[in-house]
């Protein structure tokens, strides 16, 4: 397939692995931010082909994994209402709230629908005027612009029966949170290529400046990933800490201005809890006051709902890259994608799910 095969070329992969090997003189710890990158490393078996000195720790870039429990409980409370059609991206259906998930709501008669685009939620709202249609707006800067566009269109077209439950999060504050943690081990970042396609990488020089870690904008195919690793290792070995773009075919410095404008028109930065990490100041996006009428939390009075996470898995340490899934006692036995204990095992992009799917035999108790 064009635009895929050339980035999965075995000869290029071998060449890049050789180059990385030549560069490495000591161990380095790299974090790939995005869950999609984690999956690509494991899906292609690339993590095991890297030189022994390179350790990958897997970042918090899985939108499903970091959506906080109380936002999910709010979603469940809204989706249970008989007057509501609750729409969501597919992954979210399996993520548990305190007592239920959206699958259970659906099995018990709730109208829960998977949509591929928030604009589909608008269409449903228009064709079901007697119902309240709610869209679960989650994800990073990648999904924020289309979700913002849906709100904008609903306002322009005077659609009154659509609202959004917003739980957006932003990558740079999470990178800073990881770097400022006393348990941090990360020496360089492979920045998330898709997020950068929207946002560009103008936010990163301030981070490299402050924390002295290289940040390399990286794609998702084997060749892309290795080009990113090679650039990061070169910088580390040379004692540099710069921002580099290793995903030029998709990413520019400024990013997609149109997408950013739509996003900034509808959303503003807010404090946000991350599942497994905790509150990170100004790390999320919420609706601006002029779009308050579309806020599902206000429309259905669930804003005050607060839930405590229960201490049963080490998701927090996994999501920060402090530990790997096999270091969790529950991994592979009590905790599987079929019976997950924590969010990283739930989502298709979660780190634990990636390990379970592709590397189960590495686990002593798997």
């Amino acid at each position: 397939m064009k635009y895929v095969d050339e980035y999965r070329d075995p000869a290029k992969v071998r060449g890049l692995l050789g180059e990385i090997d030549e560069q490495v003189t000591r161990p380095w710890v790299l974090m790939e931010i995005c869950g999609g990158q984690t999956h690509a490393f494991l899906h292609h078996g690339l993590d095991e082909m890297l030189p022994g000195g390179i350790e990958l720790v897997h970042g918090p870039g899985c939108p499903v994994c970091v959506t906080p429990l109380e936002q999910i409980d709010k979603a469940l409370a809204i989706a249970t209402r008989p007057d509501v059609i609750f729409t969501s991206y597919g992954d979210m259906l399996r993520v548990p709230g305190s007592t239920m998930d959206l699958f259970n709501i659906r099995a018990n008669g709730g109208d829960v629908r998977v949509v591929y685009s928030p604009l589909e939620a608008i269409r449903i709202a228009e064709t079901s005027p007697e119902k309240q249609v709610v869209f679960f707006a989650i994800g990073f800067e990648t999904t924020a612009p289309p979700n913002a566009m849906a709100v904008l269109q609903a306002k322009q077209r005077g659609i009154k029966n659509l609202s959004v439950l917003v739980s957006h999060v932003c990558v740079p504050p999470a990178m800073e949170a990881i770097l400022s943690s006393k348990t941090n081990r990360v020496q360089a970042f492979l920045a998330a290529g898709h997020v950068c396609a929207v946002m560009g990488y103008h936010e990163y020089p301030a981070i490299t400046e402050k924390y002295k870690v290289p940040i390399v904008v990286t794609g998702f195919e084997p060749v892309d990933l290795l080009v990113g690793v090679l650039a990061a290792v070169r910088q580390l070995e040379a004692g540099k800490a710069e921002v580099q773009n290793a995903y030029e075919r998709a990413v520019t410095f400024e990013g997609n201005q149109t997408a950013q404008n739509v996003m900034n028109t509808v959303f503003q930065p807010v404090d946000r809890k991350w599942r497994g990490i905790g509150m990170i100041p100004q790390s999320g996006l919420g609706l601006r006051p002029e779009f308050e009428a579309f806020d599902a939390e206000k429309r259905f009075s669930v804003g005050e709902l607060v839930t405590q996470e229960s201490p049963l898995c080490i998701a927090g340490e996994i999501l920060q890259g402090i530990k790997k899934p096999p270091q969790c006692a529950a991994y592979g036995n009590q905790c599987t994608p079929q019976s997950p204990l924590g969010a990283p095992m739930v989502s298709a992009e979660g780190t634990c799910a990636a390990y379970y799917r592709y590397h189960r035999e590495l686990v002593p108790n798997g």
Binding site: Y89, A107, R275, E361
Partner: protein
């Protein structure tokens, strides 16, 4: 960031398992379906059932072996590119019989019809069943009709049951895979699942892809005549990944696949990349996977290539070990990974 965050103590909660209620994932053909069968159906109903869970059961009547099986069809939409619920209902059961090496003889069919369905639609479905039965060389021997009120079913459900005879010497089962066996597939994977998906509304993509729904009994006959076939299975719901994991478990063997050899059409590949699906977990309705004696692999493959539904047959891997029930993949770039069965419903990913 000036205030250092305290990460300790943040964890995530225990998700809810669908213990009390049936959810759609229980019908996906993946792990949830297996759980339901093992937890509920087999303990209550399976006492007299054969030990082996294959696509059809074998029963012995006065020394002659027969295969019987049943399958219900609830596809939406009723008509999709390359097929419809009628063709699916006939081929599904014919193929389940063929996968134990049986020669299909006859089917029964039960219709559950939602009030309000037009005669025109029903007629088209039934004509399609007639054509599929003729192609497979079987007849429809008996039937039943039930009509439910509006909302009691989604337009039309069809159940078919089938019977076939098994020749002396034929021994094909999911537990017959042996170390050294060559693994073959009869053609490209994922065509049916993606074709049906593309016909559903709201997906926002179109394709010229056709479902592969087809009767495979003539292909199976050619294969059995050409050489020693140990295992046959049609990778329907849950796809090849689920089927191979079932076989690995039944035979307690390690199966190794070569990613570069697995036939997937570019349209299926592209749709899967876009939606976040694995082509190995997408449903097929006119494909089979076979485990054959290594010395016969060439002859069997050759015989497959001469049949209508085996033209694109390929060797995709082999059984490498008999210690661990596992399916592994040598990736195109030279790495390895595990292949797992489908868990519940196929869910498109977020980004």
């Amino acid at each position: 960031m000036d205030n250092e965050l305290d990460f300790e103590g943040y964890t995530c909660p225990v998700p809810i398992q669908p213990k009390d209620t049936v959810v759609l994932g229980h019908g996906s053909g993946g792990r949830l379906s297996h759980d339901l069968i093992n937890r509920l159906f087999l303990p209550e109903l399976g006492k007299a059932a054969p030990r082996v869970l294959d696509d059809s059961a074998l029963i012995n009547v006065n020394g002659q072996r027969f295969a019987i099986t049943t399958d219900s069809h609830v596809v939406s939409p009723l008509f999709f590119p390359g097929g419809d619920i009628g063709r699916l209902a006939v081929c599904g059961t014919v193929n389940d019989l063929a996968m134990v090496g049986a020669k299909p003889i006859a089917l029964t069919c039960g219709f559950v019809i939602e009030e309000g369905l037009s005669f025109e639609i029903l007629q088209r479905v039934v004509q399609s069943m007639r054509d599929a039965a003729a192609e497979a060389g079987i007849f429809i021997a008996a039937g039943d009709t039930k009509v439910v009120q509006r909302g009691g079913a989604d337009k039309l459900f069809i159940n078919t049951s089938g019977i076939g005879s098994v020749d002396v010497g034929v021994d094909i089962s999911g537990e017959n895979a042996r170390v050294g066996d060559v693994v073959l597939v009869s053609g490209t994977l994922g065509d049916h699942g993606i074709a049906v998906l593309s016909a559903r509304e709201g997906l926002g993509f179109t394709t010229d892809l056709q479902s592969d729904v087809a009767p495979l009994n003539h292909l199976v006959k050619a294969m059995i005549e050409a050489g020693e076939v140990h295992v046959l299975r049609d990778p329907t719901r849950g796809g090849l990944a689920t089927t191979l994991n079932e076989i690995a478990k039944q035979s307690n063997v390690t199966i190794e696949l070569l990613e570069t050899k697995i036939p997937v059409k570019p349209q299926v590949h592209a749709a899967c990349e876009m939606l976040g699906f694995d082509p190995l977990q997408v449903a097929n309705e006119g494909k089979l996977v076979a485990f054959v004696r290594p010395d016969d692999a060439e002859k069997i493959l050759d015989a497959m290539h001469w049949t209508k539904y085996g033209e694109d047959a390929k060797v995709i891997g082999k059984v490498i070990d008999a210690k661990k029930a596992q399916v592994r993949m040598r990736t195109a770039i030279g790495g390895t990974r595990l292949i797992d069965m489908l868990q519940g419903e196929m869910l498109p990913r977020i980004c």
